[in-house]
């Protein structure tokens, strides 16, 4: 089938490409319905990645967070119209030790493979999961949930047992979803969110406590911490975490930064801290996210951070959505009518 693929050819410049798709029994064709804009997509769109990276990766179809409906499955395993979440990570090899999202050979949508801004997506059968009972707009946030799940599952395996207080640095979308899921995983722990903007922190009604970064006194201590800040403020957040974390605590890093970040390794050594890098997610993380999102309360909380839904009928609408996203506190979701 000739597929329409919307690719970024240069910053803020999208163009329709026609692609000859090859079908096989391992493929299920999915029509995207709700796609969510991620900060990583926005960095490509605005041209805020390094020039050599843009030169290497563009043209590229953006978006790696999304749900859709099955339009064709010759094997009949999926029904026409069945709603599914699409997994952006596509492994090309199996490894018994290293998880699929960390294999250097894996392809990732909107980075090393075309993203979901397409008329129809030829998904490998093991890269979709049905999302019964989950509203599609909320479903488009499942990829973010899976990233948080990936970090929490790793944290579970690598951190010590004492989890009386867990601190989450960052009041953006990643901080919000990580806090929400930490409450689900550890209902008896006290989850404290530390952020820079009170109007965003106010959304975190499910957290046990919210604090501004400026109001932490020296007595404030956490057993473990999740860094969900990223960007240029990562260094400040990590510095503050190292200062307030108890010895042998675990710092889960989730914030993406374009430039290298300074870390106070002397105190990391002195306190015997564990720093864990977290990126992307695997099939199992998506499965767990779909399971967690069956909870209507979690769905309602997720719905609260959809700042805006934009109807997409043409390329101009996509440009509009990316521009509006810059002014939204949380997520911009595109209702994909393409």
């Amino acid at each position: 089938m000739i597929n329409e693929v919307i690719k970024l050819i240069s910053p803020k410049n999208l163009e329709t490409f026609f692609q000859d798709e090859q079908y096989s029994d391992n493929i299920v064709i999915v029509r995207p319905t709700y796609l969510s804009i991620c900060a990583a997509d926005q960095r490509y769109y605005q041209g805020k990645r390094k020039k050599e990276i843009l030169d290497r990766k563009l043209p590229l179809a953006l978006i790696h967070e999304g749900v859709g409906e099955v339009i064709y499955d010759r094997k009949g395993e999926y029904k026409k119209g069945e709603k599914v979440v699409m997994i952006p990570n596509t492994p090309t090899e199996k490894d018994d030790i290293i998880r699929e999202n960390y294999l250097r050979s894996s392809k990732f949508r909107s980075s090393t493979a075309d993203g979901f801004m397409q008329s129809a997506i030829y998904m490998e059968r093991d890269r979709i999961i049905p999302i019964r009972n989950i509203e599609e707009g909320v479903g488009s946030l499942l990829e973010l949930c899976s990233v948080s799940v990936n970090s929490i599952e790793t944290f579970l395996r690598k951190s010590h047992e004492r989890k009386n207080i867990i601190g989450v640095w960052g009041c953006g979308t990643v901080g919000y979803i990580t806090t929400l899921l930490l409450k689900s995983y550890f209902p008896d722990s006290k989850i404290v969110v530390i952020g820079t903007r009170m109007e965003k922190l106010s959304y975190f009604s499910f957290a046990d406590e919210i604090k501004m970064v400026t109001e932490l006194d020296e007595n404030f201590k956490v057993d473990h911490a999740f860094e969900c800040v990223g960007g240029t403020k990562s260094a400040d957040a990590i510095e503050q975490i190292i200062e307030h974390i108890n010895p042998e605590g675990c710092i889960s890093l989730l914030g993406v930064s374009e430039d290298p970040v300074d870390v106070n390794t002397r105190m990391v050594l002195e306190k015997g801290l564990i720093l864990i890098g977290n990126s992307r997610s695997s099939y199992e993380d998506f499965e767990k996210s779909v399971e967690l999102a069956q909870d209507k309360q979690i769905q309602a909380y997720l719905n609260n951070i959809i700042s805006e839904k934009v109807e997409i009928n043409n390329i101009n609408d996509i440009n509009e959505a990316f521009e509006r996203d810059l002014n939204n506190d949380f997520k911009t979701v595109m209702k994909w009518n393409f």
């Binding site: 089938m1 000739i2 329409e4 000859d20 029509r31 339009i71």
Partner: protein, 237 residues
């Protein structure tokens, strides 16, 4: 039910020296007609796909469908002597095998492989609402009418002019009845199925097409289509 009706009656006479009818020429890695069939096959708006081909090319079409996109939903039948004949054969086939007064057929040129899912969906929806549809794009050039072929007899207002593409969609039963009501003379002059409705003063709703929903009928078109698919190099080799 909703049917895709692929019109593949062409015998390739406009394509230069090639003997293979144009719908069977390769575009990228598949014959043009396969791209078109696939687009209807995967459309959620379409239940079954009927393909009308010249009798001599029926086995050939069955072979390539088997090779590229085998599916029980695809039915290959014999086309008619002309375009409307093929549309009629498709409608009769549907009427005989799937009795339902509400059946809709979305007829489409096999040589327009760039038809989109949106166009197919809009055709089905508007056909159900208005009874028939025609896919068009606004005319870019001024249309000039010259009845004697020598001097201009009329220049219609451009923003009221559209260029017809396909799909064209109809309610199967109504199309059969309407077509049968025409005189033999009227049937003779009809080159366009939507005109059957217009002659009978029935509504035909416009569906917005796409400029790229082009008809691949010349070598130049094929080159352009391959270029659109980034396959120009392959095509030249």
């Amino acid at each position: 039910m909703n049917f895709g009706g692929i019109l593949a009656g062409g015998k390739g006479t406009r394509m230069g020296k090639t003997d293979l009818p144009k719908q069977f020429l390769m575009l990228g890695e598949k014959p043009i007609i396969i791209h078109t069939i696939e687009q209807f096959l995967v459309s959620p708006a379409i239940d079954e796909v009927i393909v009308a081909v010249p009798e001599n090319w029926r086995s050939y079409t069955e072979d390539i469908v088997e090779k590229y996109c085998k599916d029980d939903k695809i039915h290959i039948i014999e086309g008619g002597a002309n375009r409307n004949g093929s549309v009629m054969n498709i409608c009769r086939y549907i009427n005989e095998n799937y009795k339902d007064d509400e059946n809709v057929v979305v007829t489409h040129d096999a040589v327009r492989p760039f038809v989109t899912q949106r166009i197919i969906k809009d055709n089905v929806e508007l056909c159900k609402k208005y009874g028939a549809t025609d896919t068009v794009v606004p005319a870019v050039d001024t249309i000039v009418e010259a009845k004697d072929g020598t001097v201009i007899s009329n220049i219609p207002i451009r923003n009221q002019m559209y260029q017809g593409q396909t799909p064209q969609s109809f309610k199967v039963k109504e199309f059969l009845q309407t077509y049968e009501s025409l005189t033999e003379e009227e049937k003779e002059i009809l080159t366009d199925a939507a005109k059957v409705y217009v002659l009978n003063k029935k509504n035909v709703a416009l569906v917005m097409g796409e400029n790229f929903n082009m008809k691949v009928t010349t070598k130049y078109d094929l080159k352009l289509a391959n270029l659109m698919l980034n396959n120009l190099k392959d095509e030249e080799e």
